[in-house]
Amino acid sequence: MSASLAASAGALRADSISKAFGGLKVFHDVSFTLPPAGLLGVIGPNGAGKTTMINIMSGRLPLSSGQVLLGDTRIDGRPVYANADQGLVRSFQQTATFAGSSVEDNLIAALRFAKRDRSVLERLAPLLDRFGLIECWGRHAEVLPYGLQKMLGLTMALATQPKMLLLDEPAAGLEKSERANIDAYVGFAQREFGCGILLVEHDMDLIRRLCPQVIVLDGGRLIAAGPPGEVLSRKDVIDAYLGGADEEDADAQHS
Amino acid sequence: MDNLIATGLIGISLGSQYALLALGFTLIFGILGVVNFAHGGFYVMGGYVAYYCSVVLGLPFPVAVLAATLATAALGWLFEMIILERVIEDHQATLMVTMGFYLVMATAILLLFGPESPEFSFPITGVWRAGGAYVPYANMVVIGVCLAAIVFVYWLIYRSGIGRAMRAMAEDRAVASALGMRTRALFPFAFALATGLAGLTGALVTPILALAPHVGDPVLAFSFLTVILGGLGSVAGATVAAFIVGMVEAYAAVYLGGSKGALALFVLVLLILVVRPQGLLGREVRRA
């Protein structure tokens, strides 16, 4: 996965990062690069450290060793808002909206905090329309159906016009029929905004459909990298999934 | 030198009272996640129940102390069941209802007993002297009873089944619930235990210090001080911090005078919160 120097300008790079909570190693010596406007899938069984990885890349958790670089800037351990200012924005596995505020106010808040103007909303209109958020424009976020709340959260992340989006299981909790919205979202973000996307996901079909490249985490180690068709047929990857099924979800308390 | 020792014993006496108050306070926070603003109220109530039993009814002092402990525990139990339980998930609401309850308690005492300090003094008088050091017997009794109560609380927390469940709760409520503990059932018990300790302290200490409807205010402040210093929710931290606070207060009162000791303590606590928010012996800051 070594990228040439020219290509790495603006890339998001994890450089042998490790994280331990107390004595518990959540992951160990993981390296990968997400090129600008690229799309990288991250898969692995429960407890593989996926959410922890997003927490670290976004700045919410400090690293134990290694470094995370955005372009040439080291960003691990910096405040989350400072990284967001640099164009590195994450989404959340659970629904994440401002309760008590309307859909419109939620989106305006995202624009305000990222110092964008309302024209970004006009650009997002096709997406908002597709998700059905325009019909709910004046409704409070917390009364929307689960799937809509989730799409609102994702759209808010996109409204900041990020360079790099870290998506934490965007399809989790969505109905099968709603999952096509994630395809549309990822496609739109890449096409219209040129976002690089790190996609952490459990839905293998989604990963196969969208990601040209994936990395596989297991027990905190990077065990495989490559195109999904190839990686997902490897024996060690299949074993990791079968063996990992009964592991405790160590992510839970840190998500 | 003698003075130094006598002051030290006063410090231990203060420290053991603070430890009892702070243990209860920190138990409530650790187990229920509640900052109990009514803690000082239970202390005052303990004092008045003991006063009523021993002076007005003429019961023996130990019986009065026991009655005070049981009465405050019972009221704590009821308060938890009837009021606190309903808002237990909302930390701001728990703060408001305990604060409101404190005001109600203080006013009720004022109505029942009037604003003046009643005539209430420790039944054992006299002074123990060793060399040139003087220590009132009353203080020694307080130290003895408080230390016994502290030992009892430690036994309860570290050796009994209930204690294990309580510690698991303080550790991580979600995990404890997931393990099938009937977490809610512990709340009134823990709260009653803590308020009973506050009542016991009040019954023992108010005849030495002072008894009046408003003496709960400084108790609240010192409980805050102690548990912040020790780390909110940490039992060992609260105990150690209580003795530190007691010692500083005793020596500062003798050698500095005025409220400089208290001032020094408050500033110390503020600094500790800033550089080490989890307190001296606390672990991670609990997100409350």
């Binding site: 305000r112 159906p145 998500s255 | 409101g100 005001l103 203080a106 004022l110």
Partner: protein
């Protein structure tokens, strides 16, 4: 994706006014206090109005921090800094101009709050509460100990009357005018400040983790709010000292913070009008109850418990609900859209 022509347009952008109905109503009521001395010379009414305005202005410090769900016990501390600043300026430096003094009473506590806010606003919920409480205790002890500056337990007495353009504001009604001016300033600052940053404050209150992930530096807004709350409290401290003509530690007792919290909560923490309503109701109630001894704390306690258990919105919340019911009952009202039922979060894996 669907073709451009079929895409629904975004609804027209609303441009909501900076100040809402509650703010205008509140400012109107506070402004009305200027007329009270003209309408009556009754010393009882004058002094009641004075007390209500001071209480309401002090409670604004609680109101501001509650925008972000932070419960502050620090109001008496900053009132003391504001009040003593004024006393020292007028006694030691001979400054009597009410505008100069007002600016000082705002700026001094606000400046003190900046480093304090930077230190303590990293603390969450309960810890913030405890620290503000400790802070108030510290200031109280300092007032007693720093005798050369504060007069210790004697306080600072014998302040000259404040002046406006050289005219002495001396008698009852003029003292009320001074208080009204300070209260009006405090309410205007609070209304503009909380409305201007309403998106930021709401976001911090509801979901600070999400707000940070979108690029909001939450602590900056908390620190700013802490500072403005301190300044407004300082104005209340000035008004109190000016009314009593002394600056004394007991005017800023730590437990008085409980009263200011009560005004805000009982009146209704959701709107600035609640703070004014709470102060007006409870200060009046205190006055009535004082006839039968010091029973008002018990009343406050009872009200806090009742409001917390059954009427979170306080008096204003209840009034708004009642008004809504009336409007719905009237036949002319437009049909309301039934809200979509909340769907419980399902299938959420951690």
């Amino acid at each position: 994706m669907s073709n451009q022509a079929s895409i629904r347009r975004l609804p027209q952008a609303r441009r909501p006014a900076l100040l809402g109905g509650y703010e205008w109503a509140t400012l109107g009521l506070v402004g009305f206090a200027f007329a009270v001395p003209v309408l009556t010379r009754n010393p009882q009414i004058l002094s009641q109005t004075n007390l209500i305005l001071i209480a309401a202005t002090a409670a604004l410090g609680v109101y501001i921090m509650l925008r972000m769900d932070l419960m502050s016990f620090a109001v008496p501390a900053f009132m003391a800094i504001g009040g003593y600043t004024v006393a020292v300026l007028s006694l030691k430096l001979g400054v009597t101009d009410v505008i100069l003094l007002g600016v000082a009473a705002f700026v001094m506590p606000a400046l003190c709050a900046v480093p304090l806010g930077w230190l303590i606003l990293r603390l969450k919920g309960v810890y913030f509460v405890l620290v503000t409480f400790v802070l108030t205790e510290i200031v109280q002890l300092l007032l007693f100990e720093a005798t050369p500056l504060t007069g210790g337990s004697n306080g600072l007495v014998g302040m000259p009357a404040v002046t406006l353009f050289g005219i002495e504001l001396m008698d009852n009604s003029q003292v009320l005018l001074t208080t009204a001016g300070l209260a009006f300033a405090g309410f205007t600052i609070t209304a503009l400040f909380t409305r201007y940053f309403r998106y930021e404050f709401t976001a911090i209150e509801k979901n600070d983790v999400l707000a940070e992930s979108l690029g909001l530096a939450c602590w900056r807004y908390k620190a700013l709010a802490f500072s403005v709350a301190a300044g407004v409290s300082g104005l209340a401290g000035f008004a109190l000292v000016n009314m009593l003509l002394t600056a004394h530690p007991t005017s800023f007792a730590p437990m008085s913070s409980v009263s200011y919290i009560t005004y805000t909560i009982v009146g209704g923490k959701g709107a600035i009008l609640g703070t004014l309503a709470g102060a007006a109701l409870l200060v009046t109630a205190t006055d009535l109850f004082a006839l039968k001894g010091e029973l008002s704390p018990g009343l406050f306690g009872l009200l806090i418990i009742v409001v917390t258990l059954v009427a979170r919105g306080g008096v204003i919340g209840l009034a708004a609900k009642a008004a809504g019911r009336l409007r719905r009952a009237s036949p002319a009202a437009p049909a309301r859209v039934a809200p979509i039922a909340a769907v419980p979060a399902r299938g959420v894996k951690s």
